[in-house]
Symmetry: D3
Subunit: 205 residues, 6 copies
Amino acid sequence: MFLPIFFIISFLFSSTNADDFCVGDLNGPVGPAGYSCKKTATGDDFSFSGLRTAGNTTNLVKAAITPAFSTQFPGVNGLGLSMARLDLDVDGVIPMHTHPRASELILVMHGTLLAGFMSSDNKVYSKSLNKGDIMVFPQGLLHFQINTGKTQSLAFVSFNSADPGIQIFHLSMFANDLPTDVIAKATFLDNAQIKKLKGVLGGTG
Amino acid sequence: MFLPIFFIISFLFSSTNADDFCVGDLNGPVGPAGYSCKKTATGDDFSFSGLRTAGNTTNLVKAAITPAFSTQFPGVNGLGLSMARLDLDVDGVIPMHTHPRASELILVMHGTLLAGFMSSDNKVYSKSLNKGDIMVFPQGLLHFQINTGKTQSLAFVSFNSADPGIQIFHLSMFANDLPTDVIAKATFLDNAQIKKLKGVLGGTG
Amino acid sequence: MFLPIFFIISFLFSSTNADDFCVGDLNGPVGPAGYSCKKTATGDDFSFSGLRTAGNTTNLVKAAITPAFSTQFPGVNGLGLSMARLDLDVDGVIPMHTHPRASELILVMHGTLLAGFMSSDNKVYSKSLNKGDIMVFPQGLLHFQINTGKTQSLAFVSFNSADPGIQIFHLSMFANDLPTDVIAKATFLDNAQIKKLKGVLGGTG
Amino acid sequence: MFLPIFFIISFLFSSTNADDFCVGDLNGPVGPAGYSCKKTATGDDFSFSGLRTAGNTTNLVKAAITPAFSTQFPGVNGLGLSMARLDLDVDGVIPMHTHPRASELILVMHGTLLAGFMSSDNKVYSKSLNKGDIMVFPQGLLHFQINTGKTQSLAFVSFNSADPGIQIFHLSMFANDLPTDVIAKATFLDNAQIKKLKGVLGGTG
Amino acid sequence: MFLPIFFIISFLFSSTNADDFCVGDLNGPVGPAGYSCKKTATGDDFSFSGLRTAGNTTNLVKAAITPAFSTQFPGVNGLGLSMARLDLDVDGVIPMHTHPRASELILVMHGTLLAGFMSSDNKVYSKSLNKGDIMVFPQGLLHFQINTGKTQSLAFVSFNSADPGIQIFHLSMFANDLPTDVIAKATFLDNAQIKKLKGVLGGTG
Amino acid sequence: MFLPIFFIISFLFSSTNADDFCVGDLNGPVGPAGYSCKKTATGDDFSFSGLRTAGNTTNLVKAAITPAFSTQFPGVNGLGLSMARLDLDVDGVIPMHTHPRASELILVMHGTLLAGFMSSDNKVYSKSLNKGDIMVFPQGLLHFQINTGKTQSLAFVSFNSADPGIQIFHLSMFANDLPTDVIAKATFLDNAQIKKLKGVLGGTG
């Protein structure tokens, strides 16, 4: 007796699993809206355990960013949101950066962070954040987070894009072959400062 | 003499027919924005006769939904709208459901329908609709239509998505293997009620 | 005992009725996204009976367009869809026009219509439509509908905008003060033709 | 010497602070895109401490949802994202619900949750989540979270809308005046079941 | 010493170059959002020299449109903007046309242009533009540009779509096989006028 | 005789001029989608002469940006595009900056510019541009333009937002009260360098 009721809707969903989601096929063609859709999906495609463990903070910034974007977590492909985990040792810093395609919400899990962003009219909006606090960084603006407490700090950040991008200022400037004189003209920094940081960060030119 | 005027614009359109539309290629790759585009199209690709005839209403709900979404009518792929036909016998009902990715407009062609939706603050917005009436159901909200008249009823619904989706509550709950105790906890329904409906609708667990 | 469960969500919805919809306040400020929201709403705000009756077809085109856009039906404001009713007498025509901000789906209720659109590369996509047929007109493209049958025809059109706009070619050209020589240069039409139509349609210049 | 460089850009930003953000003015007009913008903003507008403390879980579901949507946290107005805090006692449950205008990412802070969603074709995608795990719920689909562990559980959820909405199934059905016979027809539930839940949840009709 | 800092972000970007852009692969699958992405890109992909030189104005309209849309300039694919160059001899005209998927900004480089558009309520908004002037044409509306000066004129137009489309009225009507009687009914033009222009522009029917 | 034809459409447009455009009312409420709409508009509202003349380049960067965003040119409000004029003396530079809400197309009118952007993976995409060349800068990425020729240079830039924003790195860092030690931690720059630039650019802290 229950077959007829199935009939009325069953052919709605016969030809594609892309109706409600589009788990990314990292080997298929990529387009402006993201990865192609995998043909089948299970519950495992929609969960991700890669943020369970802290990133390696044994580095210059004493901090680590662990992303769960569509490339790491294909389940969010096409769904317009993603996350990342931030680990900061004492004195650690997530350096000055932007996300070119998303706004961000930070949630502090433990520790104390000084977080801030600059607006287009060069004003500073900053706040000291503690456990349970959240803060929003409007789309595309320069922002930073610094561990100003006496313990390690853990935070999670959410984005309204499955592929928000992350552009870290000092790496964009000093970790490639952008010529020193171009950087000097475009940033007002001294040549000596630029060359010093190119040395530290592996840049040339 | 007319050739030069062609020349000024002809190369605008030489390499793709995807300029103005993207008739879905059901066999090509699928992405978050929909199907890939067929390489050529004719007038037939943009019209659809599948809504001419009534769906089979010999079923538990005495009603039928006949969709013209991008899977059935690939001409709407990428254009952001679609339709469906609703046939309701006397006492027929389109059960409580949502469209996860679209708002809906219903147009009653004949008969009398009681239609309604519930908002996020649990209010009911309902209306008795007659021939020629339209009603809007805001995106993603639970809604229903019931034939409260003494004749068959016919209605057409429009969506602002080529792939709006349709999630029917009792099928989502009782026509799969979602465990009875999970349903009971998440819906407040009694176990006996759940098991009875799983029996009717083919669910297990 | 039921009060606590209300508590957990009640404050979610205390301060605005704009959560799920935004019924247009035609007297409030208007912005790029549409009208301001009315402060309260009832079921009546979401239904509309203005499409029940045929428009007046005693005119030059033997046809009438009756819109249910956000201005006529404020319930669709902000929801991204709307409708209109088309009545065509024998030999009636919905003249060559575009909708600058929406794609359109036509549904033929009775009679026979020849409908078509032209693409950017000047191809014609046309189809003779009968009762129950639907056809899509991609966003912004010139299209028309002509009653080619021997009876009156009725159709309903859906749009994926609450405010799709409608620009009818001959009225845009000949029913205002656009100078005849400008029209002649920009359309290749003869001055005599232009002046004749300005006379019929009330244009000057 | 530094004045000239200011001159070249200073007039860019003279007339509005809405360039980069639009902190909601809860007393101004509301439109389809959200609240009007406050005229001035400080760092405090962009952070929120309302998620620091657990919601009150002394209720039927042994759980609490504490939102930080644009109504509670006007700093996210217009920025397209928001959060909420979920507290679940042992055996607590966030009941079956949808967000009509957003996809969701859940992040488990402690405890064990069984989470799942149903797709339009009635399949179940569920997963047992532990500390540090995330899971995505595609836009508009029914989903639930149940504390299946032996300790309290805490989770945070992110949305890609500043006003995602939340529609809880049993409250939409049983906590208002939707008539029992309508519910029965539209959900397949028995009248006795409906009346029992209306009694528990405060509904009438 | 600089290796650790690379480590913290290097795996963000390891699997795709589609993060920040999606240079169109004209030979790959096309979808509703545009071309597939090329696998690699260089600086050359983001610049275009095809607008350096004037189009051929030896034609009926004494004007030429040279587009830099995603088909000609694949670097803009997926980025939501494009340009075109307009050359107009003395008495030249860019004929009455629409862009179905974009608003337009014109910038006059030299000469004098009369430019205008018609709104949905048939009003004319026109302006005489000189060197350095800009004018906006709202999405989808009929507009035109005429060289009313005594010298050649050059202008550049920008669109907020990588594939705005261009529909030129007289070509859509008279340069294809749309039957004369259909055109006559749908435009109010006389049969003689239609046939004359079909002759000039290569149309049949 | 022409009155009837007016009748069929005249009531479409009776109550608002916001149908096709929304010229910004700089004194009305502002929302996330832009300014409120002026009640009436003329051709003058849609054109702008403020880009006719060069900006004042007597400053540290030997360059000037003259914007035509919705604040300066309210005709583009809600239409999703805008422009700006760039004047660069010999050795002038538009410093390293981002547009948080838009992609950009540059068009070089005269002179020679070295232009470039950095992607999220720290690669440099640069190009020497001459008269008539265009180049695209993907949304939100750091980019710069330098006059590398022996004459003044003039360029125009288009954006796919009416309010793209502009964030200039050295002003965001050094022209406000962001503390020196915060800048040092977040950018790797030396304190001496920071203090020197704060002195030049008027910053404190």
